[in-house]
Symmetry: C2
Amino acid sequence: MNKNYEKLLEYIEKSIAMSSALAIFEWDNETLAPESAIENTSKIMGILAKENHKALINDEVKELLATLEQEDDLTLTERKTVEKLKKEYEQLNAVTAEEYQEYNELTAKSANAWAKAKEQNDFSVFAPFLEKIIAFNKKMAANRSKDEGSIYNVLLDDFEEEFTTDVLDKFFEELKKGILPLANKIKDKEDSINFDFLRKDYDIEKQKEFNRFLAEYVGFDFSKGVIAESEHPFTTNWHNHDVRITTHYYKNMPESAIFSTIHEAGHALYEMNVADKYTMTMLAGGTSMGVHESQSRFMENFIGRSEAFWKPIYSKLQETFPENLEDVELSDFMKAVNRVEHGFIRTEADELTYSIHVIIRYEIEKMFMEGDVNIDELPQIWNDKYEEYLGIKPENVSEGILQDIHWSQGSIGYFPSYALGSAFAAQFFHKMQEEINVEEALLDGDMAKITTWLKENIHQYGSSKNAKELLKDVTGEKLNTKYYIEYLTEKYSKLYDL
Amino acid sequence: MNKNYEKLLEYIEKSIAMSSALAIFEWDNETLAPESAIENTSKIMGILAKENHKALINDEVKELLATLEQEDDLTLTERKTVEKLKKEYEQLNAVTAEEYQEYNELTAKSANAWAKAKEQNDFSVFAPFLEKIIAFNKKMAANRSKDEGSIYNVLLDDFEEEFTTDVLDKFFEELKKGILPLANKIKDKEDSINFDFLRKDYDIEKQKEFNRFLAEYVGFDFSKGVIAESEHPFTTNWHNHDVRITTHYYKNMPESAIFSTIHEAGHALYEMNVADKYTMTMLAGGTSMGVHESQSRFMENFIGRSEAFWKPIYSKLQETFPENLEDVELSDFMKAVNRVEHGFIRTEADELTYSIHVIIRYEIEKMFMEGDVNIDELPQIWNDKYEEYLGIKPENVSEGILQDIHWSQGSIGYFPSYALGSAFAAQFFHKMQEEINVEEALLDGDMAKITTWLKENIHQYGSSKNAKELLKDVTGEKLNTKYYIEYLTEKYSKLYDL
């Protein structure tokens, strides 16, 4: 091995240990930590972040990177590692170790403040945190920005390389053109689908049992993973042999946990299936949030909301809740879990209106990243956009601006990944169907056929290919929105007899 | 603040963050982590340990310590901090950062290997790990040893300052003299107490509910703590606002979880009640394992096994398990949970034979620390000692040498703390009874009266006083074994009508 590269690995190794420690504290904060822990725990997390910064941002690493960029005896993996580290170097180098420490202490506390604000339906509890988070991100993005374009691009690039505001503006315009007319046509027909049976009492313990079964059914390997509960469902991991998902149970809305579980299991499968040779390296883990969401939203929607998927297992759901589902036909269940609803909550949204929720957040992020927005005006801006696009007005901040955890964690620029992910998923799905008979596999309960395809084509590569390269290698073309629009049009035209 | 001291705090802060991260991974490994995680996770833990080592063992810290020892403008807290860090410096400096990394990787894996060996009842699964752990500790102790005495003293001193083999040999001789004749007299009467009702089926979910109540009843504050399950019950924390205990439920042995919960809650109260001014400093947390065990064993035995404690809450236990306890009088329940049994398992042992279990481990540790013992002979040595002292012979390694987790975690020299703790507890208890009416408080369900006494006299000081200082300040004398022997003699003579 190249001697300089070997030296570099020591710094990377330390950084990975610090990030892993941060990740387990984050996991613990969301799933288990007692109420009054965060004040001190956030200090520990700040120090771990500072040490992560110090591990990578120093003269030795700078020199090693400069030298290694010139050397020609690196393997492909080594070269990719150097590239990726260089990007991370530029990202972290925009702030000092102490600023980074302070920011991580802030975001650790913010997630708790957000949960409290949401619970108390009081934006003012979270507003001061959000204000600081936005200010930090604007400052950092401005420091990192290399051209005259939007500083929002800097953050967008962290979640999906090369998907700038220019690309996204165009992408979202296409989505609007494809989705809004369809959604409007359906709006008057929303009441035509009955879902009363999903609003009855569903015992939480039985839900847990069924969701565990479901995770395992789609391929989640419990010898390498854990399922727990949190306010906002999420997936995390420190390596590919310890991948964790959460879900959230509601007594009168069983489909919430069901589709969260399938969604998060989609993320988890991606992480579990990355080749072991990348474990605990810079190339470990999913390559971008867009591709990650393509895997979770593929599993949740393209697979999890299809009748073929439920055919072999619907009877198990009925047996778990006979009092509610005994007399409900599979076809009626499928209509209910696919119905369109112009609603407030992104995570509960149907596939059709889903991207509209994302567009609203994208427009708001762009607004506060590019200009000056008074934090206190954000709830009103939010509500106005819901009225404009979906014709509905949130009645309180908990179902409005406070519904999502992401900003509290400092994730600005993340939301577009959800829509991009859906479009990637449609494109991958189209290709998959050319190569294997997906419907037959589902009817046979042969999920492995599908997950093996995903592993071979996408998962195994970890971060060694970015989204653009993956799309190209797997589907032979770059992002093409038509697959997603066609999929939605066909699905919903059929469901609502348009 | 003294400038040099201020500089030192930065190193300490980093060390605390690394130890906290190690602690949360350990907690997670024991309570939640999936089966195949440990291989990679142990690497992360090794790196965290190495960074902890590097934070403290370097020329800057060495110089700062040397300078600060001479300065006379330090507060008492600062001076104690310097002393404590000096001790830790000497401890860590006995090995290189890389050796320390390797050792921590080893112990992380060992705890899993131990659990597997115990489950499979196969010593050979754990033996190679134990061999390495002993070798490391012998090497480290030899490097640190300052005199010609036993190198075992080095390890003993880490758990209880100044309690060397000389002191402990004498202490254990006194215990043997006080306990063995009593235990022998009782041996023939062991069958006189009925405990059949404790071997019926106790629903695990109901046990969990009751144990949660119990923890809260003795003062465990769930806004600062968590209760979970693990193979071997333990307590851990990263600061005094996040203290975690575990227990272990057996369907046909409800008293196991009950007294584990009270025991661990005793540890937890100590950590929760340390003054906030010590939080996340070198003086945070309980001062020694001996004093820690004095708090846990005090709560478990002196309080938790007394009739006055159960008087206000026994009806709740009966209501939780009416099918088993409805017709069992409190006095019979008390006899059953206090009965003497010459058994194999330390953690399930009665108060009287308990110290014999500890003596056996002490003698074995002394043996392998001072001489060469073939690892494969340990199970036999173990069994022979049980026959010698308790007149019983373990039938397998799971109830023999594999029963305790400590060696797998590298804790050699820990066991004497359990016996010392019991003796400390008796001495504290004697003093407490002079100052407050303990029985009355218990009958009134006024646990706060007792925990407030503990907080004011012991807990609040954290590590700012060591065991000897605490004993002196609280009871006015040094360790005096007579209180413990008297307590046992009185209690068991009465119970068995001797």
